[in-house]
Each structure stands twice: as C-alpha cells, then as structure tokens.
C-alpha cells in the first residue's frame, strides 16, 4: 500500500526544485499546473514528441484518400465533362490537399487522445486548486515509513499545503 502525497506550491521554481529532488530520491513525481510550463520543467522531465508521427500518418492517409476518391470515383462512372480528361490533375491535387489537412487534423486529435489517455472519467488524484493558482507536485511510490519524511521535505521546499490524497 503506498500513499501518494500531493504538495501545493505557489511558486514554480520551488516546485521544480522539490520535484528534481524527489525524482533523484527515486519517487515517481507528477507535476500539475494551471498553465503550460515549458522550459521550466526540463530539469524534471523531457518528453519526446510522438504527436508528429500521428500527424504525418494522418496526412499520408489523407493524401491516399484524396487521390483515390478523386480518381477512383471518376473511373467508376465514366462521365466526360467539359472537354476535361476523366482523370484531371489539378482537381485531384486540390482534393488531396484538403483531405491531407482534414485527415492530418483528425489523426492529430486521435493521437492526442491515445497518448494523453483522454477522455478519462475514472477516479483520479486531483485538487480543484490546481486549476486556479497552485502548482501541484504529486509524489508516488513512497514506502509507508517514508511518508512523513516526504511531507516534511515538501514543506521544506516551500509547499503551502501538503496532503495525503486518494483517487476520487
């Protein structure tokens, strides 16, 4: 049984210092923030960008979809019009362009849902203050006898509030 501890900080640099220290000790840390933290979080965690593979895949699917739709449907029912060839080039390119973007956007969204595991309506550790002005540091994988030590450490780093939390 491990007891997660959530520390709420007012300042980002205090939280980052706490996070780095906790991480070095070997705990699992999760950072919560009401605003996106970019470079500030680099000492804590660096993440690769997997979204781009989804975007590329979507764009590729879109290209195939657009070209197959424009050329394939024209071939299914050969109706000459306006002296144009049955397989006209420019409209096919145009259609492919639009469907690249459409499928790219949709696959980027799907990629986000998959990677960020959304939507998630199950029980999760959360505090409503995290969407206001508090930066949260969630420390997990603590041995039972170490919980109080972690709490003291977090307070030492400048946490306003340290709670033992459960999924709710």
């Amino acid at each position: 049984m491990n007891q997660p501890v959530l520390g709420l900080f007012k300042y980002v640099d205090s939280m980052v210092e706490a996070a780095v220290s906790m991480k070095d000790t070997g705990y699992t840390v999760t950072v919560f923030s009401p605003i996106p933290l970019g470079v500030e979080l680099d000492p804590v965690v660096m993440r690769p960008n997997y979204i781009r593979y989804f975007a590329l895949f979507g764009a590729f699917i879109g290209l195939i979809f657009g070209v197959v739709l424009a050329l394939g449907t024209a071939a299914l029912y050969v109706l000459p019009r306006g002296g144009l060839p049955i397989w006209p080039v420019t409209p096919t390119l145009l259609l492919a362009y639009e469907s690249i973007i459409l499928c790219g956007v949709i696959w980027t969204l799907i990629g986000f849902f998959i990677i960020a595991r959304k939507p998630n309506f199950g029980k999760q550790i959360y505090d409503p203050k995290l969407s206001l002005d508090s930066f949260g540091l969630l420390v997990e994988d603590i041995r039972e006898d170490k919980v109080e030590e972690v709490e003291r450490l977090l307070e030492g780093f400048g946490a306003d509030e340290v709670n033992r939390v459960e999924k709710s």
Binding site: F32, I35, G38, V45, I51, A116, I125, Y126
Partner: protein, 443 residues
Amino acid sequence: MDNISYNEINDDVVRTMTKTTWKYWALLIFCASMAGVLWFGAWAYQIYAGQGVTGLNTPTFWGIYLANFVFWIGISHSGTLLSAILFITATPWRRSIYRSAEAITFFSVLTAAVFIFVHMGRPWNFYWTMPYFTTRELWVNFTSPIMFDVFAISTYMTSSVIFLYFGSIPDLAAVRDKVTGWRKPVYTYLSLGWRGTDAEWHWLSKSYTFFAVFIIPLAVSVHSIVSWDFALSTVPGLNKTIFAPYFVVGAIFSGTAAIVTLMACYRKAMKVEKYITLMHFDKLCMLLLVMSLLWSYINVVEVFSGWYANTSAENETLMYRMFMKPHAYMYWLMILTNSILPLLFIFKSLRRSIFICIIVSIGINVGMWIERYLIVATSLPRKFLPNMWHDYIPSLIEISMTIGSIFFFVMLFLIFVKLWPSISIYEVKEDIGIPMRKGFKRH
C-alpha cells in the same frame, strides 16, 4: 495586466458565464426571433414557393445569397487563421482575444454554410453533393469548383471546431472546478477528465502546434477556393487571376474588422476591459491598416489590368460597376470605407479610441459586403451577349434573409459567451507570467 491575480481570472471568466442579466435574455430572445422570422421564415417561404421569389433572373443566377456566403466565409477568416498565425509567431496579444475570435470563425462558417443551401434550387437534395456510396455508383464531379468548396468548407469547419474545442479543454476543466448545479456534469464531460499534469500539457501544446500548422494553409486555401467559384468561370469581371489573393486579403480584412467590432461590444457588455485592453485594439487596428493598404493595392491592380486589357466585355463590366447607378454609389462608398477611412489608423490615438475603432470597423464590414455584392451583381448581368443583359434587383425576401443572418450570427455568439469560457483562462495566466519566488517570469 500586472495587477491581476490568477484567481481573479477564473472568477471573472466564470462570472461571464454564470451571471446573466435580463438584458442578455432580452437581446438573445430578440436576436433569435429576428433570425427565426427574417431568415428561417423567409427561407421556408422560398422553399415552398420556389427560387422565383428572389430577384434572380436569367443572366444573373447568383445574387445576394452568394455575396452573403462569401461575406460570412470572409468573416470566418479572422479567427482561426489569425489565432493560428499569432500562435506560431508567439505573439503575446493573441491570448485574451483568440477564443472569441475562433468562435466567430465557427459561427460565421456555419452561417455561410446555411447560405449555400439557401441559394440552391432544391436544397432538400443537398446531400447529393457529398461523396457517399450509392447503388447507382454515381459520385460527385470533382472538377467542379463547387465540389472544391464542399471539401474545403467541411474541412475548414471540422478543423476550426477541433481547434476551438481543443484549445479550451484546460479552461473547461477550470470552469468545471468552479461551477455547481447542471453545469457541473456538463463541463466534467466536456473537459474529458483534464487534470493539468505535465504530460497533458506537453501533448496538448504539441498537438495544438500541429493544428495551427495545418490550419494556416487550410484557411488560405479555403478562401482561394471560394474565389475560384467565380474565377474559374469565363464571365468577364469574374474570370480574374488575382481573385484568390484578393479574396484572402479581403477575408482577413473583414474578419479582423468583425473582431474589432465584436470585441468592443463584448468587453463593454461583459465588463472585461482589464483583459481586452486598448493595446489589443491598437494591434488589431494596425493589422486593419496593413490589410486595408493591401486590399487597396489589389483592387487597383484588378481595375487597372481589366482596363488595360481593353476588351469590350471587360470594359463594359468595369463601366457598369464603377460609373453606372446604382452600383457606382456602392462602389465609391466601398472605396471610402475600405481604402480611405482605415487610413485614420495611422495615428496611434485613433487606434486607441474605441469609438473610432467601432465606426471604422463597421464601415469596413459594410464595404466588404458591398465588394462581394458588386463582384456578383455587376459581372453576371453583363455577360457576353448583350441581348441577354439584365439588371439584378434583390427582392425583399433576399434582403430579409441577409439581415436575418446577422441576427443569427449574433444569437450564436450570445449563446457561446454563456456556454463557453470566452476568454482563455490559462493563456491570460501565461500572459501574467509564471510565478517565481522573485516575481513573475514572462515568456
């Protein structure tokens, strides 16, 4: 924005959504009923009686409806496109206005899309223009500029809805934590269980960048394609190579003007002057000035190259548009509002005067509507065979639907500000800066 605390932003945005006065309801009911009567009532009558209730005639098959369609698509080009460009270039003044601007995009595309159906002879068969499987294997004609439109606009609508929703997920979570009652479950589901962990923010910002990158070329292509509805015909006055950039510039121009008008009203009505400041109007008006100059340049090029070509059909269209009543009045009014009045924005004090901003931006939108109207209504009546020349006078039904569409748009926006965090909470917080022990750190 230095004196605003993080908590205050949440409170203010939630207040715009929950505190509703009777004035809001009065305005909403008024707009809804006007849209219902003037637009949908008139449209129902037109569907029942036939397209004959319009003023369209044999050479002029496209009239005010197409002008409205292009106009509303143009309005839509401010929001998403501007938001995406400003996001990519990391422009700080984007943050407090972009959410409403994107909503403007969505609602105006919606309005424009309805106008496609309004202008159709048999709107009940609209789904025939979609590519779907039929047992007859009969598909759609991909060489048709109208078909490009179907694809471009549906892509645009999907993408801008995703862009709008995606950027709001953290704010919906923030709203979820504040509200009570029936709103609680609604925002719980809308926010998809957002918690604000570092992983979530990371993937959100990466995906958001991709959306922005996808949307910029998309928005440019959408209005180019709309212009090709006209430019790919052979009609003199429509068959112009400059139409695609002309329309894109005009779209950003009119869209930005619409943002200025709406923001000026919105900040006053919602009492959010501290978020949408004079600085924002200053920047937007600078953009208007640039777009106005660009628009004037392209307009001159269009007229000049038509005149220089000196073909009889081209000359006739130009004369008809610029010097013959009643279009001459409209044409020169358009030049006044679109080319001359925006020059006021050269002066910084005028850029920071809300009164001047509202006057000029409404003027620009009137002018841009006239531009679209003139493109359709002065080219088609003067096609190649003079025997068929016939002027176009819009009927009351058409005018009523035009006015009704404005009420429809305002109605949608009114509903939006009560249902959606219309100022981006987390990005205004970014604007304040990241709280450090030594004070706020800004990007």
